[in-house]
């Protein structure tokens, strides 16, 4: 039996994002909140592992109260237990404070129940793109981490080892790791599934267990939220645009002239 933990983040769908250009802030109104797509891969991978090896999936998230919706969706991936860490004191956390908040909760869950064999995270969240929280949590749990995971080739629960494929700049690394290990997942690691209707119904009825900063998870307030975050936003601004050059309308100048203009530039730049 495999004891799995999946960590997810609810994010604004950045493909639909709009910015108030005067204030440089995000217009949240009307922007749909989704589960970070890489975390969906982690959920799908967990779901497949549960089917193959049997076991139990715990899904955790830190976020505002409405992040419960992301957890409810996780139930569609056959999550057995869903956990929401929410408190004003968690707000404004950078990646150091976030990894602390998650790691303390994970240690508490392990103490109250039993240790996890495998931790699955997305490779990064699409709103921050930092890719720091997974390795940060692994460092705090003092366990190995494999980032950019694309596939689990084999899992041997008796020998407590796992064989993982990892994407690098030069190719695919095949790694043998001991359990417990934390994997951060690429899109290829797992594909979204179509859940049976009964599971979707169950997801609608299931509510997460909610934990705050005030216990029973032992949090030290100076490590939480903004207070526990070494980094600060100093300034935000909208990037300057480069000046616009010449515009030609194909209908007016014709293909031949347009091509000559391009060739002229290619020659000027010494690439032709």
């Amino acid at each position: 039996m495999l004891n799995l933990l999946v960590s997810v983040k609810q994010v604004p769908d950045t493909t639909n994002i709009r910015i108030n250009l005067e204030t440089g802030t995000l217009i949240r109104e009307g922007v749909p909140a989704i589960i970070n797509p890489y975390d969906v891969s982690a959920l799908a991978l967990a779901c497949r592992l549960k089917r193959t090896y049997g076991g139990r999936i715990t899904v955790i998230t830190m976020g505002p109260p409405q992040a419960r919706l992301a957890l409810k969706e996780a139930v569609e991936y056959f999550a057995d237990r869903i956990i929401l860490l929410t408190d004003r004191k968690f707000a404004g956390a950078d990646t150091l404070a976030t990894s602390y908040t998650l790691a303390q909760a994970i240690k508490y869950l392990e103490k109250m129940d039993k240790p996890f064999d495998l931790f699955l995270f997305g490779k990064q969240a699409i709103d921050g793109d930092t890719a720091q929280v997974g390795p940060g949590v692994a460092a705090r749990l003092n366990i190995p981490v494999v980032t950019y995971t694309i596939k689990i080739e084999d899992l041997d629960l008796e020998k407590r080892r796992i064989i993982v494929h990892r994407k690098t700049e030069k190719g695919i690394e095949i790694l043998s790791a001991r359990l417990p290990v934390l994997l951060t997942c690429e899109k290829e690691a797992g594909h979204p599934i179509l859940s049976p209707f009964s599971t979707i119904l169950e997801a609608q009825k299931t509510e997460p267990e909610v934990f705050s900063a005030d216990g029973p998870i032992p949090y030290e307030p100076q490590h939480l939220g903004l207070k526990g975050s070494p980094t600060r936003v100093h300034r935000v601004y909208t990037p300057e645009l480069k000046k616009q050059g010449k515009i030609l309308y194909l209908e007016e100048v014709g293909v031949e002239n347009a091509v000559e203009e391009i060739v002229k530039i290619l020659k000027e730049k010494g690439v032709l």
Partner: protein, 335 residues
Amino acid sequence: MRGESTKEVWVYIEQEDKVIHPVSFELLGRARILAEDLEGKVAGVLLGYEVLDLTSEVFAYGADKVYLVSHKALSYYRHRAYAKALSEVAKQYKPEILLLPATPHGRDLAGGVATLLETGLTADVTELSIDKTTKKLLMTRPAYGGNIMATIICPEHLPQMATVRPRIFPIPEKVEGKIGEIIEVKVELSEEEIGVERIGFIPKEKTVKIDLAEVIVAGGKGIGGKEGFSKLFELAKLLNGEVGASRLAVEAGWISYEHQVGQTGKTVRPKVYLAVGISGAIQHRAGMQNSDCIISINIDPKADIFKISDLGIVGDWKKVIPALIERIKKEKGVG
């Protein structure tokens, strides 16, 4: 970490198979400018096994010192071994600033190291400078998919850490024969503790060197499919260039991720960037707006890409690109 530092600006020297990734040199160049503002020194941190020979290159690109950890367990990159080695060196010698490349290798390492050092880390930085009054590092990065730029500081913790995008800063001039101080640091590492072992490797069939290309022919949603991209490949080949793509084209499955330019893809600065059927969403622009010259072809006169183009052609690329291919073939006397 809190407390006093040495005013040293450190650059993590990324090496694999005893070859230094050129982004390390870009960072050494930038570190020099930061160190001058701080009146401090530039140091490279080199981890590996039997890599002493590489130190001469690190000095040649501007380091005053090299911190070297040599251990068999570091013979190839593994997160735990490298994270422990780098964080122990930093704990012992207390840099003011620690810069790493925002490559998969550097990003993997940085998250663990910052946690072990209990300090802040800013990812994917595209601008670095020293605040004149506070003498703190100003780290600027695109946020919310490049829609805004955010300048981040790490006022009370050390080192101030950032991963920095490749191809943002130029490689400094190489000074052959320049030498400096090598400080060898011993770190205890055991296989048991590292917990991960490489048992195989499947090399990529062909590495797409898009970030080093002088000409990039890039396609977006307007290309419409794989067949369209084959035209762009033909053109890129004639110009000794590479093919780039927007996120939409990659997500549609028309071309592989290695070709993606933009916030979540590669940052490029070729001599000529030819954007075909790309609307120019800010996420894409973030990865290519520093190109020397941008030429764009788009059917929509309102496309944002035109705002940053040196030459914009409003019209159907299916008419322009084949004619351009024929014209270049004629020029080169082929086909």
